[in-house]
């Protein structure tokens, strides 16, 4: 995913540094530096190529192009793009990992109620 239109996402630019709890009810694109926790419940988080996130993340979908240190919980899917570097456990229903992505941690695929687990794809 390339950098999204800012009208569709809340956008944290690469010069922005945030420390603390971050929650919201819209999709979020982070190309800056966040330290704390991020909770978006029914929305998506995208960590851009310049993004550095040190936080536990909870969202519907998480797309990572940059660096993320922390546990990732996604109720729907996680995507690790080729430039992603993730250190932390990933819990989700579906995960896609591009060639070149780095992951250090556990992958736990949670079965959706009434459906079989959808394993990782590349």
């Amino acid at each position: 995913m390339d950098s999204p239109q800012t009208g569709e996402f809340a956008h944290i630019g690469k010069s922005v540094v945030i420390k603390g709890e971050l929650s919201g009810s819209e999709d979020l694109y982070v190309d800056g530096n966040i330290e704390g926790n991020i909770e978006l419940r029914n929305h998506s988080l995208t960590v851009g190529p310049n993004g550095t996130v040190k936080a536990n993340v909870s969202a519907k979908a998480v797309v990572i192009q940059g660096k993320l240190d922390g546990a990732v919980t996604a109720s729907d899917r996680v995507e690790l793009r080729k430039s992603a570097a993730v250190t932390g456990d990933v819990t989700t229903q579906r995960i896609a990992i591009e060639e070149g992505a780095f992951l250090k941690g556990k992958v736990d695929i949670q079965k959706e109620a009434g459906k079989a687990a959808a394993p990782a794809s590349s």
Binding site: I95, K106, P119, A120
Partner: protein, 230 residues
Amino acid sequence: MASVSDNVMKFFRNSSNQNVGSAVPQRLTRRSSGMGEISRLLNSEEALCVLDMGSTSASNIRFFTGKGHKIYSEDLLWSSLDPALRIQDNAGNPVLDSKKFLDENLVYPNARFDIVLCWNMPDYMEESLVKPTIDRLWSLMKPGGLLLAFFHTRDAGPDSICYRYHVTATDVLEMQEVKFAAPGRPATDKQSPRLQRVFNNRHIENLFRDFASIKFFLARDAIREVLVVR
């Protein structure tokens, strides 16, 4: 005195930075007796806890999670190249800080593994880290757990290609050349790790002396597969 960059570069082969930016490297295949034994365990047990110590592999994660097992991924070879690990001993020689390495890697307070896939990591890792790493793995495995490692035989040349391994549903492994951008080098300047040494049988038995049993499989491609039981 050699720079940090010079010290790091001894872990890479000289001639492999061609094809930078080319498509994903081609995958070769090899039959693995050790993986065959592990496959039988994977197929007969549920919810096993697996540690994959190769480069992050989407296909391995897909394979293990698809079978309902828990998969942990940790690329120790890459982690061992961290320039912050490089210190000097009392004589001023560059050495790796194995204590710092183990403080930052293989830290799983809540996990005990049924299967550990070391692949060829011990042959390409700085020697001072190998034994402490194997000892840590012993403490992280369940009694009866299996560890698979590949060691080159003396027939392998110093420029033996470093492969990452992707599991399949059988005893056949897909192999893909590993290329890293060395720390301090541009991300586009990817090179292949260099074989650091060849362990003989006695060295290998010493490495795993705390384990319950060890089984060797000699393959045709100058690889000695080692399947160890915790």
